[in-house]
């Protein structure tokens, strides 16, 4: 896989920078790294067994997957919540997102988009390329393979869907995918997500007016008030609203500023279960830090909401907490409430797209 490729730049041999196990260049106190303690033989054995189970579930090249999911959806859900083995992640993501099918149904389309079409967003994309995962070894080299793939995927998407085009934040989503699959696979996964192959389409996060961001922030605001009333009250007093801290949670599905090992675990569940995991993780974070947050005044509060402590970022603690928070029913009700005020999402989108 390409992420392993670290070449000298322009013929000048460079010392290889130290990277963590996901390829992020290490800072002294790297928060991007997961637990690094050397694994015991027992743990190693357990991991091997887990991978074997997963392989069986997937079948060769994913051939048994659909069958398995239909027969034992709960087993699949439980296993995904525990984390997809890193070596199978790319493949499994493509299977659960429905992108594999899109790819097979559209041979040659990606190449066409990349090579022959031009996009109005090309300059916007180029401007952001070096500002996307700047600390990852794969994306660091100017015009290197990482940056080129990222550009191609984003450009192809901006042509494929000219209403969305390119919006800042999409690069982090595409970048994350590119660490686990080829350009073409990443492109179709992006399509599957934005067009809603399996779950609610994400395109409303990026269309003019960011209508879905606005709706999600409204829903989150209410969930915080209901689920963590004391904190909700404190936020209200300090005039904190979710747009100050949570826009990027939704727009990049936690890939913008969260430790990578946590982002990956969230993505495993996000692709299988949909956006409600974003709400759940958000609420779990607030709940975990609740007692500190309720004491902080406005400015410190904003800072804390953008810099959660390291111990809050442990997926094996945070995710079980998130799973235990039930949001589906309230999300649906709040969506209806929002639509009563603002109209249905499809209408909101249409309105904005038609110049008045």
């Amino acid at each position: 896989m390409e992420k392993k490729r670290v070449e000298e730049q322009e013929g000048v041999p460079v010392a290889l920078p130290k990277v963590d196990r996901f390829g992020f260049v290490k800072q002294e106190t790297s928060a991007t790294d997961g637990p690094t303690k050397s694994r015991s033989a027992l743990e190693h054995e357990r991991e091997e067994r887990r991978i074997r189970k997963w392989r069986k579930m997937i079948g060769v090249g994913g051939s048994d997957w659909k069958h398995y999911v239909r027969r034992k959806p709960h087993v699949v859900k439980r296993r995904i919540r525990k984390g997809i083995p890193d070596c199978l992640r790319g493949l499994v993501w493509q299977l659960i997102s429905g992108s594999r099918d899109l790819l097979l149904m559209n041979p040659g389309v990606y190449e066409q988009l990349v090579i022959y079409e031009t996009s109005a967003s090309e300059l916007d994309i180029i401007r952001d390329i070096s500002r996307t995962f700047p600390s990852h070894i794969f994306f660091q080299q100017r015009h290197g393979p990482g940056q080129r793939s990222l550009y191609n995927v984003l450009k192809a998407y901006s042509v494929y869907d000219r209403d969305v085009g390119y919006v800042q934040g999409m690069g982090f989503v595409a970048g994350l995918l590119l660490l686990y699959m080829s350009e073409e696979d990443a492109f179709w996964l992006l399509v599957a997500l934005l067009k809603g192959a399996v779950h609610a389409p994400m395109e409303g996060l990026y269309l003019v007016g960011l209508p879905l961001v606005q709706q999600y922030l409204f829903q989150l605001d209410h969930l915080v008030k209901e689920y963590l009333p004391k904190l909700g009250e404190h936020f209200a007093q300090e005039m904190i609203n979710p747009s100050m801290y949570a826009s990027q949670w939704f727009i990049t599905v936690f890939s913008y500023s969260f430790p990578f090992h946590l982002a990956l675990r969230i993505w495993d569940v996000f692709l299988f279960e949909g956006v409600k995991i974003v709400f759940k993780v958000g609420l779990a974070l607030l709940k975990y830090c609740h007692d500190d947050l309720v004491k902080l005044p406005f400015e410190k509060l904003i800072h804390a909401l953008r810099n959660f402590p390291n111990d809050a970022m442990n997926p094996d603690m945070l995710l079980p907490m998130a799973y235990s928070i039930k949001v589906s029913k309230r999300l649906e009700e709040l969506k209806e409430e929002y639509e009563k005020e603002n109209g249905k999402l499809s209408d909101r989108i249409r309105q904005k797209l038609q110049p008045s």
Binding site: D128, R131, P134, Q168, V213, S243, T252, S257, R306
Partner: protein, 215 residues
């Protein structure tokens, strides 16, 4: 409520940083508040926020600065942050003429969403890239005069004029505010001091909050 030592200031001024994406807003902010610059910084998603307390005209001013994503699409969420801002730093990139051409659009954006008496400063950033300069100082200066904006050129990379830019806009805000409080019948200076933030429309959120918390 007791004042914490780090909360000790005479005024709190809210300022927004706006302008096209990539012109250097986030780095101007990090240079001003933390004296840091990053060549490979991430693009801003939504809004960011930082503060710095400094002396302006003999007063202790806390600048509360909101940095916004520059891409047009993001105005749907960022324009809400113009409300209640006393100042706006409108940044363009001296090596990218389109970012200067777009300044008028940003001004319109401010007219539509910000308080009408907001102090605006035009900033041409990246002056260190001398060989790439594409917007002449005189052109920008002329434009600023015509529009009634103050104007300065900066380099966030070399830390040139960054301090001065913020000092200038904060002084300007201060002068307007102190003039205003003299003109009003209220016993001015003390009430300003206690209210901390002042002179913003009734719709401003943070103002209300700071006022309440001190009373």
């Amino acid at each position: 409520m007791a004042r914490r030592p780090d909360e000790d200031y005479d005024y709190l001024f809210k300022v927004v940083l706006i302008g096209d994406s990539g012109v250097g807003k986030s780095n101007l902010l990090s240079r001003f508040t933390r004296n840091e610059f990053c060549l490979e910084s991430k693009s801003t998603i939504g809004v960011e926020f930082a503060t710095r307390t400094l002396q302006v005209e003999g007063r202790t001013i806390k600048a509360q600065i909101w940095d916004t994503a520059g891409q047009e699409r993001y105005r749907a969420i960022t324009s809400a942050y113009y409300r209640g801002a006393l100042g706006a730093l409108l940044v363009y990139d001296v090596t990218k003429p389109t970012t200067f051409d777009n300044v008028s659009r940003w001004l319109k954006e401010l007219r539509d969403h910000a308080d009408s008496n907001i102090v605006i400063m035009l900033i041409g950033n990246k002056t260190d890239l001398k060989h790439l300069r594409a917007v002449a100082t005189e052109d920008a200066q002329g434009f600023a005069e015509k529009e009634g904006l103050s104007f300065i050129e900066t380099s966030a990379l070399e830390a040139t004029n960054v301090e001065k830019a913020f000092q200038t806009i904060l002084s300007e805000i201060y002068r307007i505010i102190s003039k205003k409080s003299l003109a009003s019948d209220e016993p001015a200076p003390t009430s300003i001091k206690e209210g901390k933030t002042l002179v913003v429309g009734p719709q401003d959120n943070n103002t209300k909050k700071t006022c309440c918390s001190t009373s």
